[in-house]
């Protein structure tokens, strides 16, 4: 019974991680960049939202909007490191992540944890879950609709093209540096937005809450694709939805492990190993199972 009771809040929190995973999907799958800014920008979203609401008495929507803008800035920094400074994407993300660690603490006034006042209920909360789910449904519909539209535009198509074949994209006149920055900005805005939601849902902001967020995001993307790719096929909206479901499933498994009383200290390790394994599968498939695919690749590389 206790386990069943813990499910709805777990699903709710899973949806928030799923929203973050949409951001991860945009960089990792669409832009073909592994962006480690995420671990920092999710906390930036939390911190900005919480501090604006708690210390500056701003309405909730201002906190959410500011989190989105802060996420954009975080993505912009990584994008500039990557394109203008010529630093590899992974390292650029790590650098920004480190910068954000200081920035987030500064935003939170030097402490690593800021809470919302007790007894105040925001539009999403663990107390009124049915209302929370309703809002999540609206948010997901808007978010997925927005990206369905955006990636169908000529600008959105050039983001996809850049991730798919960067040389061809330049030959077609796409400013691939600009597109990469744009993709990082969009992605981190979603991630920071999910951070703001998380802070409202949990009732606090924590500078450590983002540790391993990228791994959770990747896990959500991978789980969503592995389980639902047959259903989603080429429908972009369904693909994004499957990523959110991937986040939900990930988080429910996580909760189950906690419930079973396994040592939670190992959870991050298990997640990381799981993601490593899933990332290896397509590589192994290519290397050991499809001789033809391998040959084809070699021909292309030697040409």
């Amino acid at each position: 019974m206790l386990y069943l009771a813990s499910l709805p809040p777990a699903i709710a929190q899973g949806i928030i991680w799923g929203i973050m995973a949409i951001g991860v999907y945009i960089t990792y799958r669409i832009l073909d960049v592994a962006d480690l800014t995420v671990d920092g920008s999710i906390c930036t979203g939390m911190a900005v939202c919480t501090v604006l609401i708690v210390k500056f008495d701003m309405p909730v929507w201002v906190g959410l909007a500011a989190a989105v803008v802060a996420g954009m800035l975080a993505g912009l920094v990584t994008g500039i490191f990557h394109t203008f400074f010529g630093i590899p994407a992974i390292l650029s993300g790590i650098l920004t992540q480190l910068i954000l660690w200081s920035v987030n603490l500064k935003i939170m006034g030097g402490t690593s944890n800021v809470g919302y006042p007790f007894g105040v209920e925001y539009f999403i909360s663990t107390e009124s879950l049915s209302k929370t789910f309703l809002y999540f449904a609206i948010i997901l519909a808007l978010l997925i609709g927005l990206f369905y539209w955006f990636f169908g535009t000529t600008l959105g198509a050039s983001v996809r093209a850049t991730g798919c074949n960067i040389n061809m994209s330049r030959a077609q006149g796409i400013n691939t540096d600009f597109i990469k920055v744009l993709g990082l900005v969009i992605s981190n805005s979603v991630v920071a937005f999910s951070g703001a939601l998380l802070s409202l849902f949990l009732g606090f902001s924590d500078a450590n809450a983002g540790k391993g967020a990228i791994v959770i995001g990747l896990a959500a993307v991978i789980i969503g694709e592995a389980l639902f790719s047959r259903i989603t096929r080429n429908n972009f909206a369904l693909k994004l939805l499957s990523v959110v479901l991937g986040g939900v499933i990930y988080y429910m498994v996580y909760q189950t492990i906690i419930y079973l009383g396994l040592d939670t200290n190992y959870l991050k390790m298990l997640s990381a190993l799981l993601v490593a394994l899933f990332l290896a599968v397509p590589y192994w498939k290519k290397k050991y199972f499809k001789k033809a695919a391998k040959k084809e690749k070699e021909v292309a590389e030697n040409a």
Binding site: T153, G156, A157, A161, N165, S169, R170
Partner: protein
């Protein structure tokens, strides 16, 4: 249309791997010129085309397309003037995107990409008409992923993409070399048709000397980063493969026999 003035390109300058890939190349193309480019491995042919396309900056000289000095212009801006097809069929298209999406990318080459739908109903009709001219049945497969097509089909579509918006300059770098002979021939015939119909100014690299003689109104031969021979008009028409071989052996002192040019 295209002026290449004394262009130099040095790879890995001031290292032991220093390589002068272009050694003061000058070449002027008139409107509608179709120039075939031949030369041995490492002669600098691809480097010349890449320098014109802006893939990398050059170390000296100027490149002027249609009166605009593009020497310092980044590649994506130059794309406005240049249509390209590469040797590797994988490089010219986005494999994970649909045929119609690839065509739409090409439709906007050199134009502003904004927040309008990338493919409208009218585009789809236009793409169908264009694909019909290829006679590969692709007009019924608009939402097939590009990666599922054969190398020949992909090269054909790439050629279409490079020319659907008339480019000031068409650059072809051994675009049939990775195809089987029959397919290569088809793609080459199509190339000829498209170039003639649209009167495109074209630079085409090939290792096939017969093709180099058969197509175009001018021919240039490169060796060690220079243009060592050129012919045009009637003089070109009279050339034979043997003439070219001889010209080549004069400069390369016999090493030519090993070159893969001979194989074709």
């Amino acid at each position: 249309m295209l002026e290449i003035k004394n262009v130099t390109k040095i790879f890995n300058a001031a290292t032991i791997n220093e390589k002068v890939a272009l050694n003061g190349v000058s070449l002027t193309l008139q409107d509608g010129d179709f120039v075939t480019v031949i030369g041995g491995n490492g002669a600098g042919k691809s480097t010349l085309l890449n320098a014109v396309a802006g893939t990398y900056p050059v170390d000296g000289g100027n490149i002027v397309i249609d009166g605009v000095d593009v020497t310092k212009m980044p590649e994506h801006k130059r794309a406005k003037y240049v249509g390209r097809v590469f040797q590797d069929p994988m490089t010219g298209t986005a494999a994970d995107m649909w045929i119609e999406e690839n065509l739409s990318l090409a439709k906007y080459r050199g134009k502003r990409r904004g927040l309008g739908w990338s493919i409208k109903a009218s585009d789809r009709a236009e793409f169908k008409e264009l694909l019909k001219t290829l006679d590969l049945g692709l007009e019924n497969r608009l939402s097939t992923k590009m990666g599922l097509l054969s190398g020949g089909q992909r090269q054909t579509v790439t050629l279409l993409m490079a020319t659907m918006q008339k480019p000031q300059l068409l650059l072809l770098d051994e675009h049939t070399a990775a195809l089987d002979p029959k397919t290569a021939d088809k793609v080459l015939t199509l190339t000829k048709d498209i170039v003639e119909k649209n009167k495109l100014t074209t630079l085409m690299i090939t290792h096939n000397m017969k093709d180099a003689l058969r197509l175009g109104n001018r021919i240039i031969m490169m060796h060690e980063g220079r243009i060592i021979f050129e012919a045009s008009g009637e003089e070109k028409q009279k050339l034979t493969v043997n003439d070219l071989l001889e010209k080549f052996s004069q400069v390369s002192k016999g090493t030519f026999a090993n070159d893969r040019m001979l194989l074709s």
